[in-house]
């Protein structure tokens, strides 16, 4: 009964996603047997961790009927600026994280206020703010990576437990569980669904909808901050090129996972499943030596397809 609550509506979509994942892995295994070895799969999954964190924030935003397209910029900023604070010292790690997190929380706050109080379209607001943040990143770092990750951070980014389970995956799974619990067991989560389903009804039931949405944007930025630090730990320093355009892929993952764009329906389990599917797909495309441009075109096409399929429900 309880587990049914967590899987909720995304049931069908999630099943499809796992089926697709299995198929893709099958094809991968045929083309390159070494690819589907557990060690390699876990390595692949480790690359999904930042994606997974970003997708948490996006899921929350879309559940309330909004969207956050500044996630890419926040992740890049966190990694770049974070590494300049860390400078390779473990002692600096926590202060660096807190500083960056505070900055990004303020950023998310601005997003939320602009969207709720000023009525600015969430797409335009977060795109514009993202552009600004990208600019600030460049201004502060000149495009060059300064500073490095500390040993602890590197351990989080690349280390394995029992020489097998990557730490970052454990982190992600823990976060996923927390998100699921929050969404389905807390009043906060309930209110998120209510606001997404019908903001008016929620307000008339006494919910502070605007405050909730602002909180969601703050959380989204914080999730992207974590993602940025994880990337930094993985690569060893900050980076401008995350290898993917996460503002698009996170939207794709959220929609594929069964969270509807108009809000109120869905959850993180579906999104996480879609993250896995997309990561595995990336792996396949890499094996097939498909260049990044073509990869982007494929992702774009998938997104359009998913939009088309899920739009059948919107009359």
């Amino acid at each position: 009964m309880r587990r049914r609550g967590i899987l909720s509506r995304a049931n069908v979509m999630t099943l499809w996603l796992w089926a697709a994942t299995a198929c893709i892995l099958l094809v991968c295994g045929i083309i390159s047997p070494g690819f589907v070895q557990p060690q390699n799969l876990l390595r692949l999954l480790r690359q999904a961790v930042p994606f997974g964190f970003i997708a948490i924030g996006q899921t929350l935003a879309v559940l309330t009927g909004n969207v956050d397209l500044s996630v890419q910029a926040v992740t890049v900023f966190s990694g770049m600026i974070g590494s300049t604070f860390i400078l390779g010292q473990d002692a600096n790690l926590l202060p660096a994280f807190l500083k960056v997190a505070a900055l990004m929380a303020a950023f998310g706050l601005l997003n939320g206020i602009g969207i709720t109080k000023l009525g600015i379209n969430p797409f335009v607001m977060t795109l514009g703010m993202g552009m600004m943040l990208d600019g600030l990143t460049m201004v502060f770092t000149g495009g060059a990576t300064k500073g490095t990750a500390s040993p602890l951070l590197k351990y989080i980014g690349t280390g394995r437990l029992f020489n097998f389970l990557p730490i970052s995956i454990i982190l992600w799974v823990a976060a996923a569980v927390v998100v699921a619990v929050v969404l389905h067991r807390t009043t906060f989560g309930r209110k998120i669904y209510a606001v997404g389903a019908n903001k008016r009804v929620a307000e008339m039931a006494g919910v502070r909808a605007d405050g909730l949405i602002i909180t969601v944007y703050v959380l989204s930025s914080l999730m992207a901050t974590i993602a940025g630090f994880v990337v930094c730990g993985y690569i060893g320093t900050g980076t401008l090129d995350l290898g993917d355009d996460y503002k698009m892929t996170s939207m794709a993952a959220v929609i594929m996972g069964g969270t509807l764009f108009r809000g109120g329906v869905g959850g993180y389990f579906g999104t996480a499943s879609a993250v896995v599917t997309l990561t595995v797909l990336t792996g396949l495309l890499t094996i097939l030596s498909i260049s990044e441009p073509v990869r982007r075109m494929i992702y774009g096409a998938i997104l359009l397809l998913v939009l088309f399929i899920t739009s059948r429900g919107n009359e």
Binding site: V67, L69, G114, L118, G119, I120, N121, F123, V124, M125, L127, G128, M129, G130, M131, M132, L133, D134, G135, L136, M138, V139, G142, G143, D245, M248, M251, F261, S291, E292, P293, V294, R295, R296, M297, Y299, G300, A301, L303, L304, L307, F308, S311, N314, E315
Partner: protein
Amino acid sequence: MTARGPSLPSAGVLRRRALNHPGFPIYVILLITWCVAWTVAPSFRAPNNLQNLLIQTVAFALAGLAQTFVILAGDVDLSVGGIISIVECALPLIMRNNTGSILLSCALLLAFGTVLGLLSGFLVTRIRVEPMVLTLAINFSLLGFALFLMPFPDYSKVIPKAFIQAVTGKVGPIQTAVFATVAIAAVSWYVIYRTRFGLHLRAIGADKETAFRAGIKADRIRIITHGITGFLAAVTGLFLAGRMGTGDPTAGANFSLDSMTAAVAGGTLFSTGVGSVVGTIGGAFLIVILGNVFNHLGVSTFFQYVLRGLLLVFAVAAGAVKKKYQESRGS
């Protein structure tokens, strides 16, 4: 009572019309910015700086015009950047060094851009998803395609000198491209404010229901409008290719947002059917001036992005606040 022919409106009416014109605020801001820039940055006053400003404005103005059309029709088209990128990257690949090839390539690319626009318009009217999301996704694919055409600026693919001359040449002190832009703006203005199509376009953007009741075919107009947007985006791409001298897959990406900034700052509001071609040009000019000033002040060039993002957010915020204010007054 017989109707008199058009008589000259009184000074009072003219003044009120100017004050209420949606493009008015941007020109005030432009004037202030110009004065501030003049006093604050000495190198800003250099005689050829104005030429510099004008030529830079061309791209933003054309992209802004492209966006103005769709916003007036009640939509948005974020695939502008993608189309610009594709045209910019495809040009060096297909244009050969003879007049025939130059003309043909231009025609082909313009047609291609138009078709891409029409496709966007078709999808937007058929798939019941917000135009923002849809065109964003389309843009993503288009940018990927541009990257595919030219993964990195390839200087071996040479653009014919004749074409570059045509784009960057001068007639007297002013560049031909500037003249061309003014001409395009004038034609756009005519289409929007003097033709039936333009009127219907604005009607749809302002009140789809009423327009429908009057027998206006909204879907068809929207698709055509997106086609126009694609066309203007292709023109922008041609210009950029000529000016840069090479293709660059990343140059076009930001134009999706910048085109919105120019249009919204110029007074074109979402979902109102209210807009201004003249204002959009002003918005484009503002983007350029601000960047130029900060350049002359020795500020990091990366600050451009911060500026542009800030400008976009400001412009849209101002528009949203204005709309709220008007709605509460119950216009």
